[in-house]
Structure formats: C-alpha cells, structure tokens
C-alpha cells in the first residue's frame, strides 16, 4: 500500500470517529489522572469517561501522555 492510500485510510478512520462534541487536550489533561487511576482500578470507564476515550483514539499526543502515566502508576517504586 502506497503512502497516499495509507494516509487516506487513516484519515477516513478518524473522520468515522469524529463527533460533534469532543473534548480538547486541556479538558482531557484535567481528568487524565482520574481516568488513569480508574483504568488501574479495573472499573468500568466506558460511561464516565466516554469522551476521554474518544479523544485518546483521535489524539496521539494525549495517548502518549496517558500511556506514560499508566506506566508510572503500574510500577511500584
């Protein structure tokens, strides 16, 4: 698959995930500690954090930050 096909497919996937209302990065950052703790606790986050989950699917930067925070919390030190 050439670059333009791959790129277009990814773009269409993102269009498919697009909602009228989305959180911006700041709104996600404000609750990222709560969300990450909820993930760690293994609770059901789908309802309370639906907009956060949706943002993380669309924003690689916030996803990186979430994953880094999760790695810290998962490690006992």
């Amino acid at each position: 698959m050439s670059q333009s096909e791959d790129v277009m497919r990814k773009l269409v996937e993102q269009i498919a995930l697009t909602q009228e209302r989305e959180l911006d990065c700041g709104e996600v950052f404000a609750v990222l500690d709560q969300y990450t703790e909820a993930i760690m606790a293994g609770g059901d986050v789908q309802e309370q954090f639906a907009l956060v989950i949706q943002h993380l699917e669309l924003c690689p930067d916030c996803l990186e930050e979430y994953e880094a925070l999760l790695t810290v919390l998962q490690t006992k030190h």
Binding site: M1, S2, Q3, S4, E5, V7, M8, R9, K10, L11, V12, E13, Q14, I15, A16, T18, E20, E22, D24, C25, G26, F29, V31, L32, D33, Q34, T36, E37, C59, P60, D61, E64, E65, E67, A68, L69, T71, V72, L73, Q74, T75, H77
Partner: protein, 234 residues
C-alpha cells in the same frame, strides 16, 4: 533551585523523624497543607516529592529515552524542577479526585514529553513538512496520486475523490494542520508553536476540519464504512 536538603545537619534528629514520617504515605490533605506555606514542612515535602518524580521518570520516559542516555539525567533534573514549580503554582487547582502523587506524575509526564518533542522536532519547519514537492513523490495528501500496479480503479477513484473533498472543504490552515499532525506525525504542541497558536486551539481546528469532511461525505451519501471498504479491495 529550591533549597532541597537545606536542613541537613541542622536539628538532624528532628528532620530525621520528619523524613521517616514523610516516607510513609501522606494523605492528599497532608501534601496540600505542607506544600501550601513556605517553611520547613514545605522544604521537606518538596524534597520528598522531587524524589517521587525522579523515581517515576525512568518509567514514564521508558519508550523515549533510556536512563543510560547522557541526556537523561539533565532532562530529569529539569523536569523535576519545572514540575515542582508547576505544582506549587497550581496547588489550588488540585481537586483531590485522584491521589496527589498521580496528579504530580501527570504534570511531570506532560512537561517531560513536551520537552522531548521540542528537542526531537527542533530542526523541522512546517513548510518542509506540508509543501507538496513535485518530483519527490507524493509527500502530501494532495500530491498527484499515482496508483501502484496493485491498486484497483475503485480505490484510486476514492483517493482522488477524497483529495478533491479536502481541497474544496478545508481552509489552508486546516489543511496545513492536518497534513503536519496527522500525516507527518508532528506533535500538536510543535505544530501549534509554529502556527502561533496553542495545543487546545489546534485540536479544535483539526476537529472542525474533520467535522467538515464528515459532513461533506454525508451530503454525498457516502458513509465512512463504504469509503473504508474501498480501501479493503485489492
């Protein structure tokens, strides 16, 4: 620099017992009250918090920077320092909805990754990422599409159609932001700085761009499932 270790040698016994107490878990309320006012309790709390941040960084940065990398130590020192300052500045905004140390690690992660991204993309300009350079192959999404031999006509038509939709629906700014972030993979903070905006505003710009594209496809009666299906062929 914050005066960490200032009390070493002075009232050693007292400090020792305080440190022991401090290494036991503080509650959120203890952290906030000890950090709120300048003084000995704040110094000790800052020193402990600094140690907590420094212990977390090798894990939060593990994907990006090896602790044996010569950059690691100076970056960690810088991040810990900036994090402590940010924590003191924004103590009022801590709502206690997570553990205090989780909140602090969150701030440290943001500062550390922002700094790493800045270093990594320092020498890249937005222009070189987003201009279509004829003769160098399709760098941008709007470059002429030259299908490979395995690409069937349906897919090729779809790509051309999407390229047309993008050029008709999006502003120059939206197109530039979309190409830099989503196609070239430049971090939002880095694109935002180059476009004289901020990360939140840039996310909104990209969100608006996606909404426009989505609306246009809907107007055309084209579902994203159908479009994606076209890519599955071949």
């Amino acid at each position: 620099m914050l005066a960490i270790g200032k009390y070493r040698g002075k009232e050693t016994q007292k400090v020792y017992s305080r440190v022991n107490m401090a290494t036991a878990e503080r509650t959120n309320e203890q952290w906030v009250s000890e950090l709120a006012e300048p003084g000995e309790a704040q110094e000790i709390a800052l020193a402990d918090l600094r140690a907590i941040i420094m212990r977390g960084l090798p894990y939060s940065l593990s994907k990006y920077l090896n602790p044996s990398d010569p950059q690691f130590e100076s970056l960690s020192e810088e991040v810990a320092q900036d994090t402590l300052l940010r924590v003191l500045d924004s103590l009022q905004s801590f709502e206690g909805r997570s553990k205090f140390t989780t909140w602090v690690h969150k701030i440290a992660v943001r500062i550390a990754l922002t700094e790493l991204r800045r270093k990594r993309w320092r020498d890249v300009s937005l222009d070189e990422l987003t201009e279509d350079s004829p003769g160098e192959g399709p760098r941008g999404i709007l470059a002429a599409h030259e299908p490979g031999p395995d690409v069937v006509a349906e897919q090729s038509d779809m790509i051309e159609h999407l390229q047309r939709v993008i050029s008709e629906e999006l502003t120059d700014k939206q197109r530039e932001a979309l190409i830099a972030t989503r196609i070239q993979g430049m971090p939002l903070d880095e694109v935002a700085r180059r476009m004289d905006t901020n990360r939140n505003a840039l996310y909104k710009l990209l969100h608006d761009a996606r909404k426009r594209l989505k609306a246009r496809l809907e107007e055309e009666g084209l579902s994203t499932e159908e479009v994606l299906a076209a890519f599955e062929v071949g």
